[in-house]
Structure formats: structure tokens, C-alpha cells
Amino acid sequence: MSDLLPVIAAGFVSGSTYALLALGLVIIFRATDTVNFAIGDIATLGVFVGLSAMAAGASVAAGFAVAILFSGLFGVATERVLIRPLGAGHASLFVALVVTIGLGLLIHAVIATIWGHRPLAVPPLVSGSISIFGISLSWSKIATSAIALVAMAAVAWFFRYTMLGIQMRASAEDHFAARIIGLRPGLIAALAWFLGCALAGLAAFFLAIETSASAALTLSALFRAFAGVFLGGLTSLPGAAVGGFVIGILDNVVGRYMSANYRDTIVFAVIVAVLFIKPAGFMGSGRSARV
């Protein structure tokens, strides 16, 4: 068990990307009742656009910014063009989900057409590594985790202290009442999709630095983000973030000490067991039916 600490540290690093994706999913779900399956593909597209910007001469930092901005704006467009016309309500919940699945397929095809099937390498934001307590960590990983934590803190601050953030929370509680008191649902939905997809863009960029950019970049990370969302509850922002980190650590611990071959199966078995005890997740709120 001497390598437990590095395993946990690695889990924390991968957990930070899961947490970002999970946070993106929850922000969008709370605002528009849509489970956005395309969030990973939108973010991947953002990374490729960022890479193209770099290839055209932009600095790494500028390409990074382009990736995030593009992801966010693509999210806004998606909500406006594909999700809003479906209308609100319980019946369109699954319809919206399936629409985002369709969008994901389309983006997949677009990426294959424009950038081909060969994975592209992504330069790290910083290079070199450092040894802490005998654990070797690359500066890149430290930087990505730090940026992820800062982004999460910024999101927390935004929802807690800014007028717009408070309006978004109010709207998430009750869309109808929010309309009545004059909150603009279109603006809130657009903002939520921007934030959610931009956070995913951040996560996708970090993933691309770790591996390389390909159409399937976020696939397995998105699964783990969903697992994190289950764990924390589909309606809770802190729950999603904590859930993402927990999954990252759990995933690494299971892979190291139990079975590298069946890590997904074991992780999801744990989630299902947890959900049987707390069906709405640890921090989510259950919605009960009206009688």
C-alpha cells in the first residue's frame, strides 16, 4: 500500500476533469432540464478549433482560450437552435436528451471530416515536473488541477454572490415562478449552456494534454462524470464537483488494487449500491409526485 498516496494524487488529478464535466452537466440540467449528452463532443470540437488556432500561429494560451470560448458559444447556439424549440416540461426531458445524442453523432462526423482520424498531440501549458514527498508530479498536472479548482471556485462564487448567479439558482428551483417575477429565461438558459460547455471545454483541453486530441477524447471521462453526477445528485453543484473527485480517486484505487480489467464495472457497481441507499444522490433533492 506504499503507493497509495501517488494513486490518490493521480485520482485527484483525473477527478478534477471529471468534476468539471460533471459541474457542466449539472449547471445545464438545473437551468433547462436537459441532460446534455453532447457536452463532451462540443468540448472536443472546441479543443480541435483551439488546435487549429494554434496551428495558425496562436500561442498555446490563446488556443486554450479559443477552445473554451468556442465550446461555450457552441453550447449557447445548441440551446437556442435545438433545445429551446422542444419546449419545457417533463415530456420533453428524454426528447432533449436524445436530441443531444444526435448532435453528438453529428459533431463526431464533423471532426472526422475536418481533422481526420489521426489523434493530434496537444502541447502542455507548462513543462517539467516536481517531486513532493517522493511523489513525482508533472507541472502540467499540477497546473491543470489548480486551474480546475480555480474554475470551480469561480463558479461557486458566481452562483453564491452575483445577482445573475442568484437569479439562475432561483430559476433552477422553479422555472415558472422565476418567469413570473421577471427573470429572463432565455438569458439564463444561454448563460447556463455557456458556462456548462465552457467548463467541459476546459476539461477536454486537459484531457487532450494528457493523451491527445481525437474524436473520442471525452468518451470515458464523460462516463465517469456521469457517475460523479449520480453520486452527488443531478441537481447539486457541490455534489457534482465532489462526486467527480470521488470517482477519480475510486477509479484509480480500484484500477490499482482490485482489477484493472473490470474497473468500470466495479466503479459502477459501487455507484448503483450507493444509489440504492440514496436514490437522489448524496446532495440531490428528490422530486416527489403530486397527488
Binding site: 453528438g104 468500470d264 459502477f268
Partner: protein
Amino acid sequence: MSALTRRSLILAIGLSAAALVSLPQVLSSYAQYVVASIAFFSIAVLAVSMLAGLTGIWSLGHTAFLAFGAYLAANLTALGLPVEAVLVAAFLGAGLFGYVLGLSTGRFSVLYFGLLTMALSLAASEVMEHWVEVTGGQQGMTVDPPRLLLTGASISLGGAFVLSIALATLVFLLVDVVADSHVGRGWLAVKSQRTAAMAIGLNPQRENARAFALSAAITSFAGIGLAYSIAYIDPLGFGLDGGVKLIVATVVGGAGSSLGALLGAAFIVTVPELARAVPAVAYYVFGSATVLILLFLRRGIVPSLRTLLRPTSRAAVPAEAVDVVTLTALVRELLPPASAALRLENVSVHFGGVKALDGVSLVLPAGTSIGLIGPNGAGKTTLLNVCSGFYQPVQGAVVRLGEIDLTGLPAYARIASGLGRTFQHAELFAELTLRQTFETAAALGAGRRRAAGLPESAAADVAERILAGLGLAAYADEFPDMLPFGIQKVADVGRILATGASVIALDEPFAGLDAAERRAIRTILDAMRAAGVSILIIDHAVQEVMAVSDKVVALEFGRLLVEGDPDYVRQHPEVLRAYFGTSDLSQARKVMAS
């Protein structure tokens, strides 16, 4: 389309496909393979589509059951077992697993459940990749030609194509029969109005589990057809991509439509085959088809076309007046007389800090009627929800029907002891016509009527007679959202007649009705009393309540204010104060009496 036409059509399509595949020189061997692929994929698409259409559950994980069938076929055939044994083993295995999984829908919302099926697909992929002894791992495994017990001989690849088509035909027939039965209607009822479905005795968790079990079981048949028709299987075909393709096919064809499932299967099979040269094309087509169809033909191609082709609804017909004599006879035939008293003692319900009910006790002797009155917020509906099991009273309460302790019984189990209810907002099943609603409820109530020694008649007859008796014949085949509210309320009362309840709680049956509809409800209530049914009625129409009640109970702020015979309560100063908030009782009495 009648059931017979539909089933003949399924058989005809199946037979012609089989002929196409087995006659030499009609199709190239490649085209034969495409037809067989459409056949086995149509089974899987139908399984997903039926589940989504009848229960509202969307599964992304059905490839797991597809894989289960395929690997089971490969392994059992290698052991020398015949096709028939493989079919039975797959059906039972996948069905059992599906049932257990489906039970968890009681714990999770439909959304969570859908996402969990995705996890199932993921876990299944891992097992396929790593359990090498059974699955051959990433390399996959070849499938031996299957042996048919029926003929005793092994079948060729061409025979496997025919087998796939035969399985598809069989499954389409099976699903058609189930969807058209009381079981399938019950699933629709649970999907469209969970609360009311529980009130007529459907256990949502069990119904969803049954539907999921059937869906999983038939999907394994698709896997068997696939394994034998391709003769080689590997994990790639059963990944999440496969699950997404099944969803795409369901959406394109239209959830819940058999013809749509066939169309969807043809779509997902032929598009990649036609676009073999350029792999991204299939993704473009799948993606844009999904998005465009959901944006513009929300319910998929087949159901949307059907709506377009159906004649538009006629002008509203007024409900026919009810005939007192026939109705009284009908109610007597459908509802067994109550044999036990409903007893509530010390019932309290708290919502956070609010005491909606505070120590209320009440006895409803068999065959009598009690009217519950009181201002808004008095706790009337809460009390009714305690009786029907939707709210749990605080510890120490007694809720009994004769010898039966109701407190521990879930809502859907209470009708079994004869306790039924109606709803303030009718809460009809949006996806069932009135006739189907009455038939479904009548099928659930048949046992109760038999036990009480009432004349037995088929569910269809019961529905027909309720429609005629309540003057609803003109609306028999309409869906509730097309009907005026008053008609919906009458239909809700009709539904309770079909269930064969003997103690009936009615939540504001008169609210929102016009004079003719009120008369109809009054007639039914009188008929119920004449039939010996116990009645608990809530309404703000105090005059109506007084007229049908043996005893009236007035509630205020969750407490029992006054109880007694109608005249006593009508005159009671406390009741007048509660309603009018005035001390000038002479004036209040005048209003109350008018």
C-alpha cells in the same frame, strides 16, 4: 387497424422476407444478409421502442442483452445444444436479469434509470473484452452452425437468415399481443398517470419490471439471430455505439410503433451498408436524422404520419342523459357491497411544521356515507390521501378496513381490500381511450367481483356497459385530453365503477361540473348507496354533500370540528363560524339554507 389485420400483416411481411431470402437467385447473398440483419435488428429496436412507448423508459443499455443472447448462442451451440434450448435459456436468463434490473425503476426516476442502463452497457463491454474463456476477448469468437431439434439437422447460413426472420416475426406477434392486452394497457396507465394507476391497483415498480423483463428477453433473441447469421461475434458490435444506434432507430421510426421499429431497423442497417466507402457519412445521417425528426416530427415517422392520416376530431357531442334505472342496476352489478367499516383513529399528518391533520378519528360503517366538509386547508384531501395510501400518517395512527390494517399497505395494494378513490382533477390516463381505461380497470377488478359473487362478464363488456350507462358512448374512443373537464370527471367515476371497489373515497366529484353533469354524478352516488357501497365524499358543494351523506364531518385546520347528521352540522354555530367567520348566525344560516 384491427388486431387481426395487424397480425396477418406481420405474418405476411415475415413470410415474404423468408421467401426472398430462401429462394435462390432472387437476392444476392449480400442482399440476403442485409435482409437478415434488418430482421434481427428489428427485434432489438422493437424491444427498445416498446419499452419507451409503453412505459416511458429509455434504455441505452440494450446492447448488453443483445450480447448476452449472442454469446449464449455461441457457447451453448459449441456445447452441442440445439437452437430451441438456446432460445429458452436466453429468454429466461435475460428476462430474469431484466426483471431484477427493472425493479430498480421503483428506486430511481426514469431519467436516472436511463442513464444507469448506459453504465450497464459499459460494464457489459468490459466483461466481453476480458472474460476471454467465454467470449474470446477482443478477438471475438466464431459461432458454429446451429442444430435444430425440430428437424434434427444443422442449418446452413441461409437457414440462419430464415431463423432470424422467423424470430423477428414471432417477436413482433408477441409484442403486438402484449401491447394490446390489459398488461400493455396497464403499462401505459402507469406511464401516463402513475398516481391514478396505483389507485386502480397497479404497482408501478412491478409493472415496469415486467415490461423491462419482456424487453430484455426478446432482445436476447436479436442476439441469437445475429450470432447465427454472422457466424462471428466480437465486443465491437455491442458497445455503447450499438445502444445509441438502437435509440436512433427508435426515434426515427417512432417509439411504441411496430412498423416504426421495422423502419428504424432498416434505416440503421442500410445507411452504413450504403455508405461503406465513407465512414463518417453514417454518423452524419444518424445524427441529422435524429435531430431533425425530433425537432419536426416529434413522435417519429410512423406515429406522425398516422396522426396526419387520421380523420380530425368531430365537433363536441353533449353527453347523453343518464337513465336512473339502468345505472342503478349497473352499479349494483359492478360494485360489491361493503362488508367492513373503515376506521381512522388519531390520524395526524405533518408537512414540515404544518399540521395538516391533527389527531382526527372517524368511523365509516359498512354501507353508509360520510361527507367531509370544511374550508380550504382544513385537511380534507389530506385525509383522503391517508385513506388511499398516498400520505403516511404520523406514528400511532390507526387506519383499518375491518380486520385489515391499511397503514402498512402501499397505495396500489389498497384497492385489493376494496378501497378505491376518484380524483379532484380526474387524472385520467392520457394515453388510453375511455374504453381502454375502463377495460383495463375492469380486468383488474374482475377478481374482486368474482370473490363477491357478482355476475362475471368480460372486461370489454363491462367497459361497454359503463360507457352506455354514463352516457359516454360518443366519447368511447377518444383520449382524455380531447374531452371537456366535466366529461373527464364523469369518466373518473366510471373508472372506479370498473375497479369493483366497495369503499369509495371521492375528492370533489362535483367541482367544475355543469348542471347535467352534476345530475349524472348524483345519480351514480345514489346508485352506489343503494348498492351498499361505503362512501367518503369531499366537496365544497355543501348542499350536494348533505344530500348524499348519512353523516357529515366538518374539519377545520386539520382538526375535527363537528360531526353529526347533515341537519345538525348545517345548523351548528361552529361550522357557520368556520365557513363565514361571522357571529351573525341568522344571516349565515340564511346563506347556508339557500
